[in-house]
Amino acid sequence: MWTICRKELADHFSSTRFLILFCLILMVALVSTYMAASGLREALEGLSKPSQVFLMIYTTPGKFISLVQFIAFFGPLLGIVMGFDAINRERQHRTLAKLVSQPIFRDAVINGKFLAGVITVSVAMVSLLLLVTGLGFLTVGVVPGPEEIARLVIYLVISVAYVSFWLGLAILFSILFRSLATSALAAVALWVFFSFFIGFASDLVANALAPVNNPRDPDELVANERVANAASLVSPAVLYSQATSTILDPYRRTHRGLIVTGLMERISLERFQSPLPLDQSLAVVWPYLTSLAALTLICFGVGYVVFMRQEIRSV
């Protein structure tokens, strides 16, 4: 398994498409952090610094989106790019038959590939976050406290888990579909659905299960909203964004903010609220993290079982 993992790692880090995507993400991340950080510095001028202000670098939209939103958006692509051709490329190049006829357990092939992907993602995320943190540190001039660092580490873990889910899904598709284009498209289609249409779909489910007959009846409205919320949780994208926003924004209490708060409001909000302590944030996030891990395991497990039973011919 380590042999395969090592080869895959070398392949990832030398593959053009991975490098292009990583550079793109890095560039946008740095730019958006810089904008967020300088906005934050201006806003903070003359004010006493609220606690955990450092985290705002990550959650404050600069000119367009915040770093966290950006990673939530592009992270899955990273996973898909690394995984969509994991098995079917070897099938097409007819190296798979040779691989499985070597004295290794067959599962070493996919375990090694999955592991290599997770390591690559971790390396990419850690270096990205370190660079961004350094930049934010220089621009805003605030030193992150230990709790903020702890929150960032948890954020990192959740993010790696999230990208690993997409990696597992992409590897599953690369086992199920023989053609590279099909598995790539299938993974991207699922990504688009879970990231952009899940709100729409969960509303549909909610309206079917808990229809609102009387729009003035608060009970019906609440029931409808509950079902919609629950339904949207099948989406790993929703799980991820709720988990990360709880971790990185200790002032957030409810999952669906009713009003969008601006930077100044958020800073002044701190005067009236106290932040959610780290352990409670963790308690809120824990179920999301386990659901995410469970979804990843399901994808990987299905791929594993299919692959172990597949007959591999080199034609």
Binding site: T3, I4, K7, H93, R94, T95, A97, K98, L99, V100, S101, Q102, P103, I104, F105, E311, I312, R313, S314, V315
Partner: protein, 247 residues
């Protein structure tokens, strides 16, 4: 002489279709066995069962005394299998491909280095080892495939259509290579082919398979006597056509 491959009533069905039908066969240590038959006869399926890559529907097999469904790894460690149309990592050099295979076989590094050079010399790719495999000709790829098997010092080589798609010169080089491996290193070889006239010159014994059934087994002379009478010379093509018409 001991049997290195033994099968008894080996059968594999795909749905209603029987790909291999009650194959009983013995291959002795030290021989070159030609496993012949037209496309779709069930040769590849048989080989997959011998290596534990596919489960038989019925019957059993023993390779080097081991049941492939129970301990495929033990077999894969000692048997070199060249799949039909073998592929390589085209963005790596010949040597890098060999090194990767050596690692998968857990051959220690310094031993692997020596083995790789030895294998490249045997197959005559010494000068080409540092070229990308993507630039290899079909014949060179096929010989690199053999080199990959040699680095683990196999007792038995199972070659699926090793001469497929080669030009006459390539076919001859490949056959010479196989027969010298057998002569000089005592490696037992089982090779499959649907081009009988090509391989008959190096096989000690052949088995002819048609539609999943083994219809003939023996030396080419024996089969010729049985089918064509004493007068005719040992012409495998003729023998084969007779069997084909009968089935």
């Amino acid at each position: 002489m001991a049997a290195i491959i033994q099968t008894e009533g080996l059968t594999r069905r795909y749905g209603a279709q029987t790909a291999v039908d009650g194959l009983t066969l013995e291959i002795q240590e030290g021989e070159i066995f030609g496993f012949l038959g037209p496309n779709g006869a069930g040769k590849t399926t048989t080989i997959l069962m011998l290596l534990g890559l596919t489960e038989p529907t019925a019957g059993r097999a023993r390779v080097l005394g081991v049941d492939p469904t129970h301990d495929p790894l033990l077999i894969k460690r000692q048997v070199g299998y060249l799949p039909e149309n073998v592929g390589f990592y085209d963005d790596m050099t010949g040597r890098e491909n060999l090194r990767f295979m050596a690692e998968l076989n857990r051959i220690p590094e310094d031993r692997a280095r020596a083995k790789i050079e030895e294998a490249l010399t045997i197959v005559g790719l010494n000068g080409e080892g540092d070229k990308l495999v993507g630039a290899y000709s079909r014949g060179m790829r096929q010989r690199l495939g053999i080199a990959e098997l040699l680095i683990k010092d196999p007792k038995l080589l199972i070659l699926d259509e090793p001469t497929l798609g080669l030009d006459p010169d390539g076919v001859n080089k490949m056959l010479d290579l196989i027969s010298s491996l057998n002569r000089e290193r005592g490696i037992t070889v089982m090779l499959s082919s649907h081009q009988l006239e090509q391989v008959q010159r190096i096989c000690h014994r052949v088995g002819i398979m048609i539609k999943g059934r083994l219809v003939a087994l023996g030396t080419i002379e024996e089969l010729a006597k049985r089918k064509l009478g004493d007068a005719a010379g040992p012409n495998l093509q003729e023998i084969y056509m007779r069997y084909f018409k009968e089935s």
